[in-house]
């Protein structure tokens, strides 16, 4: 076991205190996974659990994804880095989480590749704030877009053809809380339940559309994918569309409506006849 970092020590002390005083029913954070270099979400419910909490770059999940499921457990404290907090902002807007039943422990994201590392909302902040990340220029997306359309299609088709439709990407995503996902509906069966390339592309395009204005680029889906499909290229394109067209960066403004539930009568419509 590596020695706990300063922020981990603070986090453990604070979690123990919250649990001892019974201010919360649980503290949602991470613990070390069974394999080296992995972390898994963990709900500490006893003061004795507090010392198992960790926070490092291997913490790949977005903790907000667990909050709708913990809704009936009473008041929950949640450790929130930039992306977790952005998803919390979204889930509150979508009425999946009650803000006043959450105690948000903000921490800087140890992952310095995150576009937003510091939490957007929190009730208390532990440790040091991370320096602001440089503005995202979406260079990866622009580079891909410079390829001819046929090459882009082939590249995405090749990647998506490898999808085994395990839905791990969906299971870890904080945006995917629907009781019945469109891919699981059987009456009607909207999407063929086969890993045929056309069914895979259909699944991934619709998934991407469902993420519009909601995806916070936490990367949890891509890290969960057992096949290593580069899902972020699709998610980041969607973010870019939403930013360019509607001026929205998901989960960064608690007061703004979700862009796909709103409109501006002056929205660009150059693609409409």
């Amino acid at each position: 076991m590596p020695r706990p970092t300063a922020v981990e020590q603070q986090l453990r002390a604070r979690a123990r205190e919250l649990l001892e005083k019974r201010e919360v029913a649980g503290v949602l954070g991470f613990r070390a996974g069974t394999l080296p270099g992995t972390c898994v979400p963990f709900l500490a419910t006893e003061p004795g659990d507090a010392d198992r909490l960790v926070l490092n770059r291997d913490c790949a999940a977005n903790l907000a994804a667990w909050l709708p499921r913990l809704r009936h457990r009473g008041r929950i404290a949640v450790v929130a880095r930039g992306p977790d907090s952005r998803s919390i902002v979204n889930l509150v807007k979508e009425n999946q989480v009650e803000r006043d039943r959450l105690h948000i422990i903000g921490v800087a994201d140890p992952d310095d590749t995150q576009p937003v590392r510091n939490p957007v909302v929190f009730d208390e902040f532990l440790g040091e704030r991370a320096p602001d990340s440089p503005p995202d220029d979406y260079a990866d997306i622009r580079e891909f877009e410079a390829l001819p359309p046929a090459e882009r299609w082939q590249a995405l088709l090749d990647e998506l053809s490898r999808c085994i439709r395990c839905y791990a990407c969906r299971q870890v995503c904080p945006n995917c809380y629907c009781p019945t996902c469109f891919v699981d509906a059987s009456r009607p069966a909207w999407v063929g339940r086969t890993p045929d390339p056309s069914d895979n592309v259909l699944f991934h395009m619709v998934r991407a559309i469902h993420m519009a204005g909601r995806c916070v680029e936490c990367g949890a889906c891509a890290k969960a994918c057992p096949i290593g499909i580069p899902l972020m290229i699709i998610n980041r394109k969607v973010s870019l569309i939403v930013r360019d067209r509607f001026g929205s960066v998901p989960g960064t403004d608690p007061d703004a409506p979700l862009p796909l539930t709103a409109f501006d009568s002056e929205d660009r419509e150059e693609f409409i006849r």
């Binding site: 045929d196 069914d199 259909l202 619709v206 559309i209 969607v238 569309i241 709103a262 693609f271 006849r273």
Partner: protein
């Protein structure tokens, strides 16, 4: 709904006659199509109309599914901005369509496979014009194959 579309690819019968699924809103574009009909305005018989209550009812999924199931093109048409029967349905739809439009481009799907238009109940001539335009564009592109389910084509070929 889409399960009923005939999966036989349009090329089987020789000349390519595009098959276009048109989602028309009940209050404007469908009425516009009706007006074109009763005014005996000629337009290509390429479209298969699905009447929807509002362009806001058109889930981008329907559009993609139509392409997967063998449509060569899709047209979505609703009331002009400001004229929506439900006041704002088409404004909300417009954002959704914008995302789909940009995403299709990113995936390398030919621009022109999927078209959007606003046609009012009074615009019979405009409706016919839109259909002519969309049909010509899709005809020029040829049969859609990028999103189409190859299993359907194979099945149709086997059936001769």
């Amino acid at each position: 709904m889409m399960a009923d579309t005939n999966p036989v690819p349009s090329t089987v019968s020789g000349d390519f006659e595009p098959r276009i699924v048109a989602f028309l809103c009940n209050w404007c574009s469908y009425a516009g199509a009706d007006l074109a009909g009763i005014s005996r305005i000629q337009y290509p018989p390429s479209i298969r109309v699905v009447r929807v209550p509002c362009s806001g009812r058109v889930d981008p999924f329907y559009i993609l599914k139509a392409l997967q199931q063998g449509a060569d093109g899709v047209l979505v048409s609703g009331c002009h901005p400001g004229d929506c029967h439900y006041l704002t349905g088409n404004y909300v739809a417009r954002r959704r369509f914008a995302v789909l439009h940009d995403l299709l481009g990113f995936f390398g799907i030919e621009p022109g496979r999927v078209s959007f238009s606003w046609v009012s109940a009074a615009e019979g001539e405009r409706f016919a014009e839109v259909v002519r335009e969309v049909t010509e564009r899709v005809r020029a592109l040829g049969p859609s194959n990028r999103l189409a389910d190859a299993r359907l084509t194979e099945k149709a070929e086997r059936a001769g």
